[in-house]
Symmetry: C2
Subunit: 112 residues, 2 copies
């Protein structure tokens, strides 16, 4: 079991900004996950993996793919207080779910 | 209302590693927070702020200070799969709680 956070690498966000956006995605997707899956994920150590995409188009392709499944997910649009314009899609949280199911969608992506 | 994540800047962690550790802290502290505070925080936009400390000593000083309050918090020890030795304290999640209560503890720290 794992949770994956996919971050756009083209926005010039600093590492603190990236971390805050990833936390939005992580909690957002966590809250939409079935409690049985949460328990299983936590028993295995709550693994979280942060991946990157080069831009919005690639992120939305992943988003459309995950929407066609029943895997929990959460798309983050930034409130725009700092660094980037309001409403910018910054990242996507997926899961927790099984490694196999998530890899089918995100398997090609690189670590951030 | 806000949640604060405090990250050690001396561990040489990459931005993906930092983001994953911050997510551990964020969910860990979130889960220990009173539901009424969660609701209030979410209604205000679930603000998250990522701060830094130069090392372990400074992080543990903040940890000891927050432990003397009833503010929710969660100290992250890394499982050590990547980049750093197992058991390394990497970051601390605090809140969500009111800005004023959290600033009393973290007010001197810089953004990551």
């Amino acid at each position: 079991m794992k949770q994956v956070i996919i971050v756009r690498s083209d926005l010039g966000m600093g590492r603190g900004k990236i971390a805050a956006q990833a936390c939005h995605a992580s909690i957002g997707s966590y809250k939409k996950t079935d409690p049985d899956k949460i328990r299983e994920w936590e028993m295995e150590g709550s693994k979280k993996v942060v991946l990157s995409v080069p831009g919005l188009e690639e992120l939305m392709e992943i988003y459309e793919a995950v929407r066609r499944t029943d895997i929990s997910h959460y798309l983050v649009r930034d409130a725009g207080h700092t660094q980037i314009p309001a409403g910018t899609v910054t990242c996507l949280g997926i899961g927790p779910d099984t490694d196999e199911r998530i890899d089918r969608i995100t398997g090609e992506l690189k670590l951030l």
